[in-house]
Amino acid sequence: MTGRQALPLARTRKRLARAASFLREVPALLASLPFLLIATFTLIAAFTPTADLNRGQLGTLTLENFRLAWQAADFPRLYGNTMLFTFGLLLVQLFTVTTAGFALAHLKARGRNGPFYLILAQLFLPASALILPNYILIHKLGLSDTLTALALPYVASATGAFLLRQGFLQIPRELIEAAQVDGATSWQILWRVLLPLVRPHLAAFSLVSLVYHWNEFLWPLVVIQSPEKRVLSLGFASFARSAESGMEWGLIAAGAILVALPMVLGFLLFQRGFVEAFTRSGLKG
């Protein structure tokens, strides 16, 4: 073989290898294509004048839809209420899931089974299935139409308790025993020694809780009546209803983007964190 013949052969081989490695990516392309199309259509609709959109005429870009959507719903207040609800709830949850996770990890077997199953079974009794009785309770407590009532069914979180339990179980026992020898109480051990070590688990839980409650719709729909106490999903739903009857798709798309924007930005910034958090919160860690 001379070099002259080997050269084109090597080139062909390289090209073939490149084609093969591209072919291997085809399933990933196909699987994500519908999602890419939906996202693209949403973006196009949001940035195209509605009149053009209904005529199937694309090409002109505008921010008009965002301006109109921003005016149609009281977005600053909706963002404010949603943040108050989600972050306020999270603050309380960080306390309840840490304490519950700690107890579940360190209770003696004898006293553990009851609470263990009581908490685990909550996964199958979601608040959305309990809207009617919970509304009756909230009403009796005089809390209907308040943001506090929105949070109450979620203060105890099985997902969080088991996520944190996982975290506490990973900490070597010697660390706790050493602290006990030094005379620390359970409370001091939890707060001073263990808490810094379960920070990743708390972070993962926080992300999942924020996403879940930011997007929550049904329970707020039941609880909130006053327009000035509405959260984003409620404001968006009523606004989408009127925009739909006018076939103002650009407005709907722009509104949807405004509602989802904080979560989408968070996802773009902390993609790996989101993926890990959602995988972990699937109980089996």
Partner: protein
Amino acid sequence: MRSVGIFLLPTLVFLVAFTYLPFGVAALEGISALGSLFQQENLNALRVTALYTLLAVPLSVGLGLLAAVAVEGTSRLRLLARALIFHPVILPTVAFAAVFLYLLNPLGSLQGLLRWLGLQNPLGDPVGAFLAVVLVGVLKDAGLYMLYYLAGLQALPKEVLEAARVDGAGRLATFFRITLPLLSPTTFFVGIMATLGALRNVDHIFILTKGGPVGATDHLLYRVYTLGFEYFDFPQAGALTLVLLTALTALALLALPRLERGVHYDG
């Protein structure tokens, strides 16, 4: 450690108040109206919920599995595909569903495709509306199930797959005879989560169809809402809540023994 039990108190108090006590409240409220369950509209809601679950669960789990197999790996394109498939999970369901009002409207961007499928105006037609609700539910959740399957795939024993390849097993044979059976704990878990989702997520119905047309998408939980908070018929809404809670309890009894084992083993 002593006196750890006290740390359970905050969670247990709220758990009893807003999960277990409501169970009793629903029973008290609904018991007098149990007879109404056999009314046409309520039977229809049961049928719709069963059909929705039977269709949405295998579709979303199947799509999650397919997507996981397709995007496993670390090439840049696969990571991008993964993010695209996952992103509806973090979107508000109402916002994600609203986009489909546009996509599925008779003048929308998909009209060519829709006409080809014989569905000019899917949301105005009982079958079309039902399928649309299933589609949106499936696309919203599949990304989450993909994550669980990716974690499952990562945990597979590499030696077994290697051995299969050395023995000359084809890709399809390896997948169906080895990968899939090894993934069965993941499939069980994902199936339970998907069933739970199909029973409790109805936000998209509020946006897309409001239970219609002619009750074709009148999910049990959607009907609990309309009966309870539009007609203020608490007894009937309570009776339907009891049906829903019965289904969820059955699911829990099926799942808990195996899930609990998973929880213990991790420790």
